[in-house]
């Protein structure tokens, strides 16, 4: 809800509701540095503007591509954070199963080894649901402070990209929740790295194996869920699904090297067979197999369908080495030109524009294939994109999505972010953004039109107005305290927030001053609460402009 507290300054009671037409900000040309920061980070800050201007664009990008995950300041900050865990007691037949719990706990699950977290998934002892889901909740809680504070901003942007690309609904099951910290760590570690390596991590990640049911897939019939999404969402993409054009797998056209240009349902069935037995070390007997208690990937040979297969037109012989079927499928997919185009188009869609030119996608796909063995393959593609003339020539048209807007608001204000109650999750969910909890495997959509809706717009306004309120419970920093001491007049106030938001104090918030009924020279009220409220409105008015919402 909005802050509707009565505002009782006499000067404000005389406020005129008449609004001044805001400057035509669309017409104003924007600073290329500002655009770069808004595309490759979660929003410009005074610090990042300074870094970019001192290094220059090329070196700044190089630095962003080489920064490792988890800088020291961020890690220290995450160690100070807590997240509430709360549940009622439950009685069993012979005494209490668990006691009522309500405490603020540090985010320890992010560092607990998987075999320890495995215990959270076992039936005995009985545990409350929030205990079992705790690892996933900690990753979600850490995601916003990471987005706001990580030095490796581009890596963080791409980590979120891969989370949507390889979507896992973290709470789908006990296993997906327990091992979600490992999945998050793998995506971050390889976010700018080699696609085949990343794909291999994903295909063996317990969270993914649980989410898309492959951990239960055995001969026969195999479970097709993972196989289909691997082809349709993770690699070749629906654009290379040839089912409508080719009634039979023999009809699918071939590309250089003899592989099929795309896939049909028969390929899905065969790929599903290739991944039978790719499971999780859950530490118990399931049917004929005993799975080790590792909480990590486990291959169950007795579940594997070992016989001959034909995938994308290539024959696989029977009884190959353990995991060889699945590994070869991943090899074929990771280096397929269809995958290169699909992945590159999605990267451009994330960082630049919804519908990039085919020529740009083709240039990047070529680079993607050229460096398919390189440890920095993805980073090279991004670098080529940023250096491409189309990058500079494309005006901002991508709407910040709810998570990105919220992170940007905190970067604009300079507030330190934690979320002891995890409440930001629900604020974002009301705008359609379910951080790490998006049920369908497609992940959050990435086209601007999907977010340019009435409800998202209402929520964006509410977030801007209230992100720094105590009840929002994401930062302890108050906006009045975040303003420099020399902000003394209303003009100082609007200039400060325009500069924080846009890097340019000149984008006047004259309409705000007019509505409040003051001139730029009028002194700010002394009361901290009033200052806080006015600062929130200045931030809101600055944020509710095309140059802030489009990147």
């Amino acid at each position: 809800m909005l802050n509707r507290r009565a505002f009782n300054l006499s000067v404000l009671l005389a406020a005129s509701a008449a609004a001044l037409r805001p400057d035509s900000v669309l017409a104003r040309t924007q600073d290329p540095d500002e655009i770069l920061l808004n595309r490759l980070t979660f929003g410009a800050t005074p610090g990042s503007r300074e870094r970019l201007s001192s290094l220059g664009r090329a070196d700044w990008l190089k630095e962003q591509l080489s920064l490792p995950p988890d800088d020291r300041a961020l890690m220290a900050h995450l160690r100070t954070l807590t997240l509430r865990i709360k549940y009622a007691q439950r009685k069993g037949k012979s005494g209490p199963l668990w006691a009522a719990t309500d405490e603020l706990r540090p985010l320890d699950m992010l560092h607990t080894p998987p075999e320890e977290r495995l215990k959270l998934t076992q039936n005995e002892p009985a545990r409350a649901g929030p205990e079992r889901r705790r690892p996933a909740h900690e990753v979600i809680a850490a995601s916003l402070p990471r987005a706001v504070h990580a030095e490796a901003q581009l890596r963080e942007v791409m980590t979120q990209f891969w989370h949507d690309h390889f979507n896992v609904y973290a709470e789908k099951g006990r296993l997906s929740a327990a091992f979600f910290p490992d999945f998050d760590r793998d995506l971050r570690a390889h976010a700018l790295g080699n696609f085949r390596e990343l794909l291999g991590k994903v295909a063996t990640a317990p969270s993914m194996l649980d989410y898309l049911d492959n951990s239960r897939s055995k001969a026969s019939p195999a479970n097709e869920n993972f196989a289909r999404e691997l082809l349709e969402l993770h690699t070749l993409g629906a654009e290379n699904y040839h089912n409508a054009q080719s009634a039979d797998w023999r009809d699918v056209p071939r590309i250089e090297g003899g592989l099929a240009a795309g896939y049909v349902d028969e390929d899905v069935y065969e790929v599903a067979r290739a991944f039978t037995g790719w499971s999780i070390g859950v530490g118990r007997r399931i049917g004929s197999a005993h799975l080790p208690a590792t909480g990590q990937f486990a291959y169950v040979a007795s579940w594997h369908d070992p016989y001959q297969k034909r995938i994308l037109g290539r024959d696989f012989s029977s009884n190959r080495a353990p995991m060889a079927d699945g590994e070869e499928v991943l090899d074929m997919l990771a280096t397929h030109p269809g995958t290169a185009r699909f992945i590159c188009r999605k990267i451009v869609r994330r960082l630049l524009i919804d519908d990039p030119s085919d020529a740009l996608v083709a240039r990047l796909a070529k680079e993607f294939l050229r460096w398919s063995e390189a440890p920095d393959q993805i980073g090279r593609v991004i670098q080529m994109l940023v250096e491409d003339p189309e990058f500079a020539d494309t005006p901002p048209s991508k709407l910040r999505r709810p998570f990105e807007l919220l992170a940007a608001l905190y970067r604009t204000s300079g507030a330190r972010v934690g979320s002891p109650e995890g409440r930001f999750y629900w604020q974002l969910a009301s705008a359609g953004w379910r951080q790490h909890m998006f049920p369908p495997p497609t992940g959050h959509p990435d086209r601007t039109e999907d977010w340019a809706s009435s409800t998202v717009m209402v929520r964006m306004i509410e977030m801007a107005m209230s992100a720094h309120e105590p009840w929002f419970d994401t930062t302890r920093d108050r906006l009045d305290a975040l303003m420099p001491k020399d902000v003394e007049t209303f003009g100082d106030l609007t200039r400060h927030w325009a500069r924080q938001a846009h890097g340019d104090p000149g984008d006047g918030l004259d309409d705000l001053l007019q509505a409040v009924g003051v001139t730029p020279e009028d002194p700010l009220p002394k009361d901290a609460g009033d200052q806080r409220h006015l600062a929130a409105m200045a931030l809101t008015f600055a944020a509710m402009s095309p140059r802030y919402l489009y990147r």
Binding site: R21, N225, P445, M457, I461, M465, D511
Partner: protein
């Protein structure tokens, strides 16, 4: 009678229609699935018999859909079985995109979007997508998207609301993603504020339905928003509601049974809540595809082909099973695996648009459709 209203409930994920409306005596059906994944003729899992069945085949409704069977018996609900896309796809993305666009020749927009664009109905709220995202079917039109009506108001009650609204009205220009959104939102916000805002209480008036909706049910709040929009006379013509969770590849029984129970109870509550306004409303329940006849080795079912569509509303003659039942013999199955599509889903939607919504030329909404109407209104 007011202008007719269409409500589309989409069961996302591919609902297992063979476990909703089922040929319970078919030996192929019985052999293909364990007890927990099919409707039975007797015992604990006994389904509710639906009239005389279809083409001499006995059909029963799953026991968790008792209210749907009641609506069927009352003559309000029809079932059209073996419906779906004529072109085979077993991909969620592809199937949903195709089925919601319903454009064989690559025409722009979704089927509801095309109708709204051509019809251009007046009123402050002609189309509402309940939820936080717009479905493909409404593509090409700018529907309101919200979980509840109060979500469509801008900073109501805030002392700076007029200035903020003015900034939105002027600041986003005539093009760009937010231009149209902000204009329409501000107009709607004004109307809703006038209707629902209680300044003294500093709160929105909450909706009081005339019947109790089932609690702990994902569908209830969405259908309450639709019912409220209808009763507030906001000019609603089309509403879409997503009800997900039907992609049951593993351990299907618990999830599926809960989902179906939720659908059945919430839809019945909505229908009773409408009271006399039932006269204006048709509800279509559909999914992107059905699921495989044979279950897999993890207690679930994989993506299949034909599903079933449900049509609720007094304009059509309910209490009937329509369509052509292809049977479940191996030869009758598509690729030897899936219930074959014998009714183009567009034929069902097209008949509703003509018979209920009064659309004279359906070819604009369903270009290239050349399939007989299943006979909902015959």
């Amino acid at each position: 009678m007011s202008d007719p209203i269409l409500v589309v409930i989409f069961l996302r994920g591919g609902a297992d229609a063979l476990n909703i409306v089922s040929p319970t005596a078919d030996q192929n059906y019985i052999a293909a699935r364990p007890d927990m994944l099919r409707v039975a003729r007797g015992g604990d899992a006994q389904g509710i018999r639906l009239g005389d069945g279809l083409a001499d085949v006995e059909f029963r409704m799953h026991r968790n859909a008792r209210e749907l069977a009641d609506l069927f018996a009352a003559g309000d609900l029809s079932v059209i079985h073996a419906t779906g896309l004529t072109e085979a796809t077993r991909s969620h993305f592809d199937a949903e995109a195709q089925i919601e666009r319903a454009a064989s020749g690559g025409e722009a927009g979704g089927w509801l979007g095309r109708w709204l664009e051509a019809e251009a109905p007046g009123g402050p709220l002609p189309a509402l997508a309940v939820g936080t995202a717009m479905p493909e079917s409404l593509r090409g039109y700018h529907p309101a998207v919200a979980k509840k009506l109060s979500d469509l108001t801008v900073a109501t009650g805030h002392w700076l609301a007029p200035a903020l609204q003015a900034r939105l009205a002027d600041g986003f220009g005539d093009h760009g993603a937010l231009a149209k959104t902000s204009q329409e939102l501000l107009a709607l916000s004004k109307v809703l504020e006038h209707r629902l805002w209680m300044p003294k209480q500093d709160a929105f008036r909450t909706y009081s339905p005339s019947v109790k909706y089932p609690g702990r049910n994902r569908l209830s709040p969405a259908l309450m928003t639709v019912a409220q929009s209808i009763k507030e006379d906001l000019g609603l013509r089309v509403a879409t509601v997503d009800y997900g969770g039907w992609d049951t590849h593993a351990n299907q029984q618990g999830t599926f049974d809960r989902n179906l129970r939720g659908l059945s109870l919430a839809l019945m509550a909505f229908w009773r809540d409408l009271g006399p306004r039932q006269q204006d409303v048709s509800v279509v329940v559909m999914s992107e595809f059905g699921r495989r006849l044979r279950s897999n080795a993890s207690g679930g079912t994989d993506h299949g082909r034909a599903g079933a569509m449900l049509v609720l509303g007094p304009q059509s003659k309910g209490g009937r099973l329509l369509g052509r039942w292809p049977g479940l013999h191996n030869d009758a199955l598509e690729m030897g695996a899936d219930l074959a599509v014998t009714t183009d889903y567009r034929a069902v939607l097209s008949e509703i648009m003509a018979g209920h919504m009064g659309l004279k030329d359906t070819s604009r909404v369903f270009p290239g459709l050349d399939a007989p109407a299943p006979g909902l209104f015959a």
